[in-house]
């Protein structure tokens, strides 16, 4: 089956990100396809590579990054959600004349059309709300 996931919760504040990550791992472990993970609302913070959690806590950005590299996942943060929350890549940093960028690879920044495309292309869209 082809799944897509959308994550609404910011890392560490709620269980949304952790549950989504575990679900993504389970989807792949069971041999299903994961079409896209779309990060919306505070979920966009999952893509911040400058998170530095304590060593005895899960490194959410690092976990997403590794999972995406292992399985060639499409990790997308919503551009509207990300810009207003200060999650930007170098291109957006230049466009908005900001001094830094924090969206880590392989996360990409794109529009809400990617959420709708995922909803229409996958057999199941699973939302991790707050």
């Amino acid at each position: 089956m082809r799944f897509a996931i959308t994550v609404h919760g910011g890392p560490y504040t709620s269980q949304s990100s952790h549950s989504a990550l575990n679900f993504a791992k389970a989807v792949l472990h069971e041999g299903h396809d994961l079409y896209r993970v779309f990060f919306y609302h505070d979920g966009v913070y999952n893509g911040s590579e400058i998170m530095a959690p304590p060593q005895d806590e899960i490194d959410l950005y690092g976990e997403w990054r590794q999972l995406a590299l292992d399985h060639e996942l499409d990790l997308v943060v919503c551009i509207a959600s990300a810009l207003r929350r200060g999650v930007i890549n170098p291109t957006e940093a230049e466009r908005y004349e900001k001094s830094a960028a924090n969206l880590g690879k392989p996360f990409t920044i794109s529009g809400l059309g990617q959420l709708i495309d995922a909803a229409l292309s996958a057999d199941r869209l699973v939302t991790f709300r707050v």
């Binding site: 959308t6 529009g111 229409l120 869209l125």
Partner: protein, 111 residues
């Protein structure tokens, strides 16, 4: 599906953005339930909360091809609201009918 009151969080506003985008690609309807019905109250004055009064955007849904906005009757009643309090015309359904309504749609975006 919109389930949260406006202005206290950004879920309603960003949820509406997703609805508007989705309407460009597919047939969409909106279900306001729980505290989500508060998003439709007319004459909101949000300047004191430094948030945008996006309730007016619900009036544009028709232009985007979103023809039906459903509201759960019990959720209105429990909050002492009637359809005349709302910024747009809605189709009122009983809570018991929500499950079968959702069954009519391929995909649910839940905010």
């Amino acid at each position: 599906m919109q389930s949260r009151a406006p202005h206290g969080s950004l879920f309603g506003q960003e949820g509406l953005d997703a609805i508007l985008m989705g309407s460009a690609f597919a047939t969409c309807a909106v279900l306001m339930h729980g505290d989500g019905v508060y998003q439709l109250i007319r004459d909101q004055r949000s300047s004191g909360t430094s948030t945008r009064d996006y309730s007016v955007s619900y009036g544009a849904l028709g232009d985007y091809g979103v023809e039906t906005v459903f509201c759960v009757q019990e959720d209105l009643t429990e909050r002492r609201l009637v359809v005349d309090d709302l910024v747009i015309p809605v189709t009122v359904i009983d809570r018991a009918a929500v499950a079968s309504l959702l069954n009519d749609y391929n995909t649910i975006l839940d905010f």
